[in-house]
Amino acid sequence: MSDRATTCELEGTEERAIRYASGQLDAKSGAAFEEHLVTCSACQEFVRFAVALRRTEVFRAAAPRRNTSRRLGSAIAAAVLVAVAAGLFIVAVPLRTSRVRALGTLASAPVYDGLIVRAAPAPSDSAFAAAMRDYAAGRYSTATTELDTLIARGTAGVPAFFFHGASALMLNRAAIGRDDFTRVVDGGPSPYAAEAHYYRALAELRLNDAGAAAADLRDISSDAAIYSRAHDLLDRVEALRSR
């Protein structure tokens, strides 16, 4: 190890470092990366590189600009269309984007009611309870740290992923929240499944993915407690998408 930049012997660490610095790794991948990071000077340098990359305005502003038609029949038509398209792009796209993201706003965190769904206590229960105490007190970062430990140990159940995702949403880490709720949804039927669809939809809206959010909201059954909220939100999402 040295103070100089180095390469890491593992594959893909540079990309993982970039995703880590951007808050885009889910809890499990983030834990695995941190376990490696703490002993690897090369990856620590990659994280610095990733942070610098994220701080560059050029990188932030480098949005795709590919959909403008390049093959118009006449130069005049092209000029007019490009001018109109440019105007619409400048005004409408950011406006629509900000409205979509605004729909993903979460005013208050999903409530943890302390419902005991397990017949016999498991070793991870006390750690989960500690995390939930912090969660209920609004200490989402602390709760996340504690749930990270459970997840890294492999002892996390569906509720841990659900509230890890909820904490991520409250901390404005939509990509992590989306991945956590995906684990809950993919885990099959559970008391958390319908709400996981709803909160994943909020995360997707924050990520400006209205189509995925609408699909999630449609998946919520009419007998779910959260159905009416989901239905209202779906109406607003569809209204924005149809504009």
Binding site: M1, E14, R19, A21, T39, T56, S141
Partner: protein, 193 residues
């Protein structure tokens, strides 16, 4: 098994803990406290032979760090219960202090020299989090070309950021935490593994 952590290994662990702490606390002073406390607990734990598997050093250190961070957050919450919203709370910009403005400026220059398409590839990959296939569809280029663009662009940026220091192999500290056969550690200074 007895082994000694070299000053460089200790530096690496401390730097790693600092990144983890900064990521969650967003405060350089608090991160420094976490590093000190974690290193103290780590050395104590190693002296008590609590690390059974040297390959698990990273997980071991991270586990201690997370406990120290949680303690710190609880203490901060007790001291200032009404200021919870003002705590940076693990925002992604909490790591910004890791780099200097001149590092960012150098990288910015390198980015400006990339083609617009290469910048788009990086943006779509790392900001919009799209897969190479999705990026390829968006930019209407073959996926393989997108992968090459990304690899080449990152290589150029890396060279601009690190200068000539790229390319030295490095093994994680855990793999070096083995008995030093050429220079056996002084038992009085050895850290029990």
């Amino acid at each position: 098994m007895t082994a000694q952590l070299s000053p460089q290994q200790l530096d690496t662990l401390a730097n790693g803990i600092r990144i983890i702490a900064l990521r969650r606390l967003g405060d350089a002073d608090a991160a420094r406290d976490v590093v000190q406390e974690t290193m103290t607990r780590l050395l104590d734990a190693l002296a008590k032979d609590q690390l059974r598997d040297a390959d698990r050093l990273g997980a071991f250190v991270r586990g201690i760090a997370l406990h120290v961070i949680a303690d710190h957050q609880r203490a901060a919450a007790r001291l200032a219960p009404l200021s919870d919203d003002l705590v940076p709370d693990g925002r992604i910009d909490s790591l910004d202090g890791l780099v200097r403005d001149e590092d960012v400026a150098r990288l910015r220059d390198a980015l400006a020299r990339l083609s617009e398409t290469d910048r788009d590839v990086l943006h779509l990959t790392f900001i919009e989090n799209l897969s190479p296939r999705a990026v390829a569809a968006r930019l209407r280029e073959p996926a393989e070309r997108i992968r090459k663009r990304k690899s080449r662009a990152l290589e150029r940026l890396r060279a601009a950021f690190f200068g000539d220091g790229v390319g030295h192999d490095s093994k994680p500290a855990a793999t070096e935490l083995h008995p030093n056969r050429d220079n056996p550690p002084d038992p009085a200074e050895a850290i029990v593994e």
